[in-house]
C-alpha cells in the first residue's frame, strides 16, 4: 500500500501519525508541503532515517524544486508525476491528508 503525505511535518500531525500505521515495506511518497520532511539535516532527520530502514521513501521532484529543497536525506528517491502514477499502478493508495 502506497502512503502519500502532503503536510509539512512541522505544522501538522500527518507525518507523525502516518508512520504509526504504515506496514514495513509500504512505500511512502511525500508530496506538496510534505516534501519538507525529506530535506537533509532538519529536526525530523532521525525519525526519517528510521522510516528509511523499513520502507522505501519517495518525494515528488516538482514539489521539491518548487520549494528549493535539493539536499535530501540519504536513501530518498525522487519521482515526477509519471513516477507517482507508476507507484499508484503498483499499489493501492492511502492518501493521508
Amino acid at each position: 500500500m502506497l502512503h502519500t503525505i502532503n503536510k509539512s511535518p512541522f505544522s501538522g500531525d500527518t507525518f507523525d501519525t502516518c508512520i504509526r500505521f504504515f506496514q514495513p515495506g509500504d512505500p511512502v511518497l511525500f508530496i506538496e508541503d510534505g516534501v519538507y520532511a525529506v530535506q537533509n539535516g532538519n529536526k525530523f532527520s532521525e525519525v526519517l532515517a528510521g522510516v528509511l530502514q523499513s520502507n522505501p521513501v519517495y518525494a515528488l521532484k516538482p514539489d521539491l524544486d518548487a520549494r528549493g529543497i535539493s539536499e535530501l536525506a540519504a536513501g530518498v528517491a525522487t519521482v515526477d508525476y509519471e513516477g507517482f502514477v507508476d507507484l499508484v499502478e503498483e499499489h493501492q493508495v492511502n492518501s493521508w491528508l
Binding site: 500500500m1 501519525t17 504509526r20 500505521f21 506496514q23 509500504d26 493501492q92 493508495v93 492511502n94
Partner: protein
C-alpha cells in the same frame, strides 16, 4: 474504509465525512470507520452545540448501527493522549492498537481520509 482525523465543529470535514459514510452505507457497501487523532473527539459525549450555532452530529454516529457499517475502530494511543476512555464516547467502538489499524488499512481497496 473511512478515516476520521479532524475534531468536530472547527472544520466541516468530519461532518461531511459522516454524510458520505451514510450514503455509502445505504448503497450496502461494507465499510469500516476508523477514528485517529482529533477524529476521536467527534465521538465525545455531551456535546452541546447550541451556543456556537452549528448543528451537532455526534449522535448520528449511533445511526451507523442500523446500516451495514461493520465496525468503528478507535486508535488507543489517540484516546490515551487525550485523557479519554471508552466511557467518554457516545457509541460502542473497538479500541485497538495502531498496528492493528495498520493491518486493516493494508487490506482495503479504498481508504478515504476526512
Amino acid at each position: 474504509m473511512h478515516v476520521m482525523r479532524h475534531a468536530p465543529h472547527g472544520t466541516i470535514y468530519t461532518y461531511e465525512g459522516l454524510e458520505m459514510i451514510l450514503i455509502m452505507a445505504a448503497y450496502e457497501q461494507d465499510l469500516s470507520v476508523v477514528f485517529i487523532g482529533d477524529g476521536i473527539y467527534s465521538l465525545k459525549k455531551n456535546q452541546d452545540t447550541a451556543g456556537i450555532g452549528i448543528k451537532g452530529f455526534a449522535k448520528t454516529f449511533m445511526a451507523l448501527d442500523g446500516y451495514d457499517v461493520e465496525k468503528l475502530y478507535v486508535d488507543r494511543i489517540s484516546l490515551e493522549e487525550r485523557g479519554l476512555s471508552e466511557d467518554d464516547l457516545v457509541v460502542d467502538v473497538e479500541v485497538v492498537e495502531s498496528s492493528r489499524i495498520g493491518e486493516l488499512m493494508k487490506e482495503q481497496d479504498v481508504i478515504i481520509h476526512h
